[in-house]
Amino acid sequence: MKPLTVNFRSKAAETLQDAQIQQSIEHVYTGFFKGRLEAAGDTPEWEELRTKGKAIKDHTIAHLDYYLGQLADNVEKNGGSVFFAEDAAEARKHIIDLAHKREIKTVIKSKSMVSEEMGLAEAMNDEGFETIETDLGEYIIQLAGETPYHLIAPAVHKSRTDVAKLLDDDFKEGDPVPDATELTMMAREKLRGVFERADMSVTGVNFAVAESGSIALVTNEGNGRMSTTVPRVHVAVMGMEKIIPSIQDLSTMLRILIRSATGQRISTYVTMVNGKRKPDEEEGPEEFHLVIMNNGRQKLLADPQMRESLNCIRCGACLNACPVYRKVGGHAYGWVYPGPIGAIVTPVLTGLKDASNLPNASSLCGACHDACPVKINIPRMLLELRYRTAEGSSDIEERTSGAKERGIWKAWRIGMMGRKRFDWAARLSRIVLLPIARNGWLKKTPPPISGWTSTRDFPLTASKSLKSRLSSRAKKAK
């Protein structure tokens, strides 16, 4: 998928002004957000689980080379094949070639963010394979010709009317709008025939178990189960970081993933497959292929400041918690991964130069860090990327901070270095700003602070500092 990160500002502005989208996304995000808090609150050992989850991922990522080898060995031992793809293009080509070789007609896809990195569904359709997304949200998005809006709820921005238009060719503006159940049943009918005739499936991987070569898939709808059962060829695609060492680690990882994603204690279906159909099984694929993709992840791994982002288990909790994401929406981020996690991985994977607005799309409130089931310190990395944008890095040769900006910060630094200087600076700012203030507020200001006040008011410096007010209160009290 081609990154469009450079359009962050215009896309964000578009979403902010769309009242309908604002309404439809708000209640879904708050629903997920509250669900996660309730699920965490119901789980007395929640903090312990997060600590364990982080420890498992820290250990795995620190020895990723070893576990990749172990995983590949065991998948092959189970009768599957493994393909290592350096980038999205290699992965895409491998899967398309395989589909040609096996004379595939219909491909069913379950949700996979890694396949979005490859732009796989579109590429396979272009090659003449009937390729259908089977997660209901993804199916709606595919019919609309769009990209997912959210890691867990891809069609969160679509209203029932939008969905009715996509599912029912006869639906016209002004017709009574079917309810969610009716629409879901329409999709069920359409997709069942597809499941029955599919001869290849492409799924993601929630966790790949190195010691046994198993993959675990978590779904509520059952499309993951259909995909691992009906077609004769099953292709699972994963980013190289999606490994855990032991089957037993799944109990911790499933608990934190599911609670963080939807607030459920468990998803309707957790499916574990150890390769293709075993001789004693009634059905299942004749072939199992695992595609392990790098696609720039080695840059995150090699970067001590950014490595922690590879602990991500793609639950979407940081998205739901983020006050900025909840307003600017998923498409503004311009690539596969939106929200706070997207704001740290996208710039490294696709280039900081075009994506430099992403790390700035945060108030640094820390809600994403609190929400993360594996405790990724996202705000620290946002600051690191802002620093690199301002001061230059391998991606951005020239520092983007101008002489004026650097001058302001230098003055700020000097002013903040001593109590007396701070008091002087505060008093000076009041004297300078008083003539342009109205009722204690600055509503319109000259440069260099005009940018700030064009969209919000700024309070005038108070006549007395908090410290002097407190000390005069203390004196009075005596």
Partner: protein
């Protein structure tokens, strides 16, 4: 094209090393537990399941109801058969598919279903594996109105039924028909996911890991349209859990 060696060498270099090192033993993961530890963890899990069977069955019933199972607590096998028959009638089922779980024979499920006028069959291939048989079994599963299974384990913490597909237990019997009925006996309920995965680890370390495993927690669900939860998308619209009080 990237080969495995080049791919892994890139990863090793990104980790700042020149060769792949075996990780040191780390208590963060269960990967370093030896066979004896795995075995004793699994035995502990089974012991708990049998010592506290009635308490865990009750907790299972409560957790299952919360996530959308229609729970039927029955006193004996006859009542279980009656519940199954009444579901068949209610659904006007003509075609029923079942697994070969022992409990279904004990309950007398074949007679209960055929008495309602529906046909009942299993998906067992009797060891044969031709792709024709696999296709036949798929078609039968997609046509069936109801799928009936026992459980391999259940999990009280989450209200989950665990199935290890194998000969006599197809993957589709609990997935393709619009109604799934699972019959549970006390003693089959584990306390939590920890116990289940401790047992899976033991199966793995003793070389007996099943080909696949499904954790099923109620009917199929989606909330992809305006965040409204709807029951029944690709899997069953209705999921019934019959809990037998006595063996």
């Amino acid at each position: 094209m990237a080969d495995r060696a080049t791919f892994i060498a890139t990863v090793t270099a990104s980790l700042g090393r020149s060769e792949v090192l075996a990780p040191p033993s780390d208590t963060a993961t269960a990967a370093f537990d030896d066979t004896a530890t795995a075995k004793s963890n699994a035995e502990q899990a089974m012991a708990t399941a049998s010592e506290r069977s009635s308490e865990l069955a009750e907790r299972m019933a409560e957790a299952a109801a919360v996530i959308g199972w229609k729970v039927h607590r029955v006193a004996n096998q006859e009542d279980a058969a009656n519940v199954i028959a009444s579901i068949c009638e209610q659904k006007s089922a003509t075609s029923v598919l079942r697994s070969t779980h022992e409990v279904l024979t004990q309950v007398g499920v074949d007679a209960a279903v055929t008495n309602t006028g529906a046909s009942i069959g299993t998906t067992e291939h009797s060891g044969e594996n031709s792709s024709d048989l696999v296709d036949q079994s798929k078609t039968a599963a997609f046509k069936a109105d109801i799928g009936i299974t026992g459980v391999d384990y259940a999990i009280a913490e989450t209200g989950t039924v665990v199935l290890h597909p194998r000969s006599g237990l197809s993957r589709l019997v609990s997935l393709a028909p619009p109604t799934h009925i699972a019959v549970l006996r006390p003693g089959e309920v584990l306390e939590s996911l920890d116990e289940l995965f401790a047992m899976e680890r033991n199966d793995f370390s003793s070389g007996e890991l099943a080909g696949s495993m499904n954790l099923i927690s109620g009917p199929s669900k989606t909330a992809d349209i305006e965040g409204t939860t709807v029951t029944g998308i690709h899997g069953p619209l209705e999921a019934h859990l019959i809990i037998l009080k006595y063996d």
